[in-house]
Symmetry: C2
Subunit: 207 residues, 2 copies
């Protein structure tokens, strides 16, 4: 069959199509760059209208990574999607969901495992870049702990997906990010591929 086989050309045409079709005009240039990669990961050019962010989110996350900050992911799929060659300081990519104590924590706190795993983030949270692409309860629990006075991450890429709590948790992040730079997508859409795309984009400005 005939199709384009040149990877660089596929990237070039993909990003050109996205920039031709998506309305990025309201976004700062660095946020637009992140948006292009998020659109690339999901095939939908209508993300910008639903995106919310603090203007400093890309600069803050990128500076943190350049300083060696760890990346904290809510799900193994997110952690596995991070392109290691884009990381500026061989940054650690952490996911605590499979730690043996998570099941007990979830029972004791009467919450999901995804939320309970946040309890194990505390010692690494100060200045970290957080990428959430799965469970709304992870984002809710993190925001609750920030209200409790926990250390501040450098940035939150908050992109949980789904039908119960996703829209609400992202609305809360966008309404009151607790002084933390953030990027989110309102509504039900989100997911691990989108969170990975956002993380890979803030890690390295190259398209």
């Amino acid at each position: 069959m005939r199709y384009i086989k040149d990877g660089a050309e596929i990237y070039r045409r993909s990003f050109a199509t996205i920039r031709a079709e998506a309305d990025l005009s309201a976004l700062p240039e660095d946020v637009a760059g992140v948006m292009v990669r998020m659109i690339h990961a999901c095939g939908m050019t209508d993300l910008p209208a639903e995106t919310r962010y603090s203007a400093d989110v890309v600069a803050a996350a990128r500076a943190a990574l350049q300083d060696g900050a760890p990346i904290i992911c809510d799900a193994k799929m997110v952690a596995s999607g991070v392109t290691r060659s884009r990381l500026p300081a061989a940054n650690e990519v952490l996911c605590f969901l499979d730690q043996p104590e998570v099941a007990d924590l979830a029972r004791n706190l009467s919450t999901t495992r995804s939320a309970a795993a946040v309890e194990l983030w505390r010692d690494r949270l100060d200045g970290a870049v957080v990428a959430i692409g799965n469970a709304p309860t992870t984002l809710f629990h993190l925001l609750d702990r920030l209200d409790d006075g926990w250390p501040r991450p450098a940035a939150i890429l908050g992109l949980p997906v789904g039908f119960i709590g996703a829209a609400e948790s992202k609305e809360e992040l966008s309404r009151n990010p607790r002084g933390t730079p953030f990027l989110t997508l309102l509504g039900r859409r989100g997911g691990s591929a989108m969170a990975v795309a956002a993380l890979n984009a803030v890690a390295d400005a190259r398209e």
Copy 2:
């Protein structure tokens, strides 16, 4: 903050919302079950209209997995998202993209690494379940090799995403699946989360 913290209740309400909103009426019951999980993974209830499948795809893939067939994934993110506890026979989950010979194969075949990796699938392809959630060139290359007479997989879950080749490769799969049971989503949408959801659904009928 107040939000639902009971994981089982979140699942129950999520799937009830999906079944209330999505039009699954045209789908066989087992394909509808796969669709519910795909919708759950992306937050969009409008997938059914763009879905194409062979009526036997879920039965064929499920039977193959119960018989111990391997799962071949195009990307590490897909492989990492497979829920091992849902697999009926502790099936192998394979991804060849990072094998050292892939770069040379890509150069020699003048194609992408994602397509070149398919060359390493040959010995494991007979009766396998294939899950493609990233590169259209992977799906194109696989279809070309099936035309060359390569061994038939048990099923192809063909869900590459993007702007260059995604729609075309999935249209080709749906038009002529080369006698292989398949499931795909027309157009640009797809991705690793959707491929994982489809795979996890065919692996185990439990919602």
